[in-house]
């Protein structure tokens, strides 16, 4: 009953959302079969939900299970719907809203990490500066010649944002990011 609605001449009732959206991280355990990712993504686009980040990979080879991590935003009500709609998909085993779960466990917020490969091209002082800063960010050099470095960096999304911003003036030429991998603190499993 929180939505404000105006009378319209339309066949539908158009609601104005007043509640603030929240950012949540969901873990979705699915059968690793053709089309499963399309089902998940199609659900988000078809029902107008947001995806800020999405990662997927097989996590249990013998059982053919993949874990999808989705960062999304919406009101509490929309987030509840997203979880319920995901659970309706036949090859979906479990959906855990890590953000809600972290709250239940009094664990603050879920642990989130991302990996990025960052290519920086340049010569002279810029090159030295890039290497020095990479060291400060604990980025590893995984490829280099006299004109470039490729750094591998892991961390929170904000740390990677910052690293990329700093590299920009030093000859940033290519970035590749994995998206968020996440789980909750503590001994409990998903």
């Amino acid at each position: 009953m929180n939505a404000q609605l105006q009378p319209t001449g339309s066949a539908y009732f158009i609601a104005k959302e007043t509640e603030k959206p929240e950012r949540h991280t969901l873990s979705v355990l699915v059968d690793n079969e053709p089309g499963v990712l399309a089902r998940v993504i199609g659900l988000f686009s078809g029902r107008g939900y947001n995806i800020e980040s999405l990662t997927v990979s097989e996590t249990e080879h013998e059982r053919h299970l993949s874990r999808i991590t989705i960062v999304t935003s919406g009101t509490r009500h929309v987030l509840e719907q997203i979880k319920n709609q995901l659970e309706r998909i036949v090859p979906v085993h479990r959906v855990v809203d890590l953000t809600v779960r972290a709250g239940e466990l009094s664990n603050g917020s879920p642990l989130e990490r991302e990996l990025a490969l960052v290519k920086v091209t340049g010569k002279g002082d810029d090159r030295v500066e890039a290497l020095r800063l990479a060291d400060a960010f604990r980025a590893k050099v995984i490829d280099a010649n006299v004109e470039h470095f490729i750094f591998e960096i892991t961390g929170k999304g904000s740390k990677i944002d910052q690293f990329i911003a700093i590299m920009k003036p030093l000859g940033l030429s290519e970035v590749c990011r994995t998206g968020v991998a996440a789980m909750n603190r503590g001994p409990q499993g998903m």
Partner: protein, 595 residues
Amino acid sequence: MTKPKEDAAGREMTGAEMVVQALKDNGVEHIFGYPGGAVLPIYDELFQQEDVQHILVRHEQGAGHAAEGYARSTGKPGVMLVTSGPGATNAVTPLQDALMDSIPLVCLTGQVPTTLIGSDAFQECDTVGITRPCTKHNWLVKDVNELAATLHEAFHVATTGRPGPVVVDIPKDVQFARGTYVSPQSAPRTSYQPKVQGDLDKIKAAVAMMASAKKPIFYTGGGVVNAGPEASHLLRELVDLTGFPITSTLMGLGAYPASGKNWVGMLGMHGSYEANMAMHDCDVMICIGARFDDRITGRLNAFSPNSRKIHIDIDPSSLNKNVPVDIAIIGDAGRVLEDMVRLWRATAQTDKKLLYPWWEQIARWRARDSFAFKMNNDVIMPQYAIQRLYELTKDMDTYITTEVGQHQMWAAQHYGFEKPNRWMTSGGLGTMGYGLPAALGVQIAHPDALVIDIAGDASVQMTMQEMSCAVQYEAPIKIFILNNQYMGMVRQWQQLLHGNRLSHSYTEAMPDFVKLAEAYGGHGIRCEKPGDLDDAIREMIAVKKPVLFDCRVANLANCFPMIPSGKAHNEMLLPDEATDEAVANAIDAKGRELV
């Protein structure tokens, strides 16, 4: 002769043989389909057996709606078989229709050979891609050894939990390939486990809340029908035990009999005044197998403002979706009703006299007679036509289907449904052209029953070709067309919202339905005068052939009562108040700008 199931399991056979064997093993007796290049091996197998009867439609959309009608009138899954490419794309409308109305529909599609997939081959389309959002689940089978298990799983998914449509896409080379058949008993996947038994603590709380109600109402939907005849039986028992009034959505009509003493009529946009007012003013609402659709609730922030709400649904995503509820119970309507009846008997014997003031209030609303219309001795009023049809068919073994529009709402208002599974209509998607093929499907399932499609002149022309199919299979469906020469509901909305500018809602070149019926090999009847109507309907019933009944009705009748858009349940437009001026001003100027 059906062979014992054990014989087939473990046997080596072709993919096409597996399809037919899986149909038999899943109890399928009829399928609706249309052949084409990519399903020829399956058609060849169908030709060589007699257990599964194939009904040849004239368009794949017809196959889908026929299978839906078959499913809804029997409680069994409907099955359709179509070819690749256009065969599959033509199936999309019935698939979405079945998804929105929760109808178990198994659609088998042919596909180009696996080696050609992705090459833009002749009659290729991405069937699983196209049908992904309009099915409960779908499969592309690339290995013949997975075909049998996939087919069984498809039937399982379509018929369990919240029922729905599924697609199995079978490339032509897989139909030819040989592999090992497995029986339906093979273990289902672990990720799909619908919850059918309701949480007993929540049911206890719900029964306690119901026992405390002064102004309760049951609001039931298609979920009760889908839960099987036993669920409807239990619903009737619970209504009798509690003495509460009951209303239903369009999809739920018949679960509680229209002649039952607690019945207050359908609710929603064109529902009865008493049902909508009771929904608005109730203190406890018990929603069973319905989903608070926008046609039901009216303006959401004015929907039943002072009630505590109980919602029972098998689909967790339906709970708290549009309307927040106080007690949400996930489970099969039948199972939960069983618990409720038991608990009510054990704990909640209340004095029905406490409900007298509520029933008196409902009687005052009912006295408004919201389905009333002005009779006319020269022109047939559409409501009168439905009433006469009802009176002349109610004692027979009758099934009713409809198309979509005014006639559909009039049928829901003026035809009384006494049993579940007798009313087949496209509720969620609102598919014009649904009713004629659906009637065909119903007639195939119930060859001796009287099956009537209450149709509109515009809708019926969308799938008219299936008359040919009805004639071929001697399915004596009766197509009762309320012919007002308009797309009546479109015209009504244009009158309400667009200054009565009737843009393209008039059919200038109407076919002669009597000649059309005869051209198909059916029987045509035209009726223009109210005095001739009864005899004409009797003639329609007596003819043992498909009938097109051209019932010429008042051209500009509007369907009332109506909750205008953006209004609440207690702001209904009633027929006696619906002057031209009131109709023109029902939706304010600000509202109209937002269209």
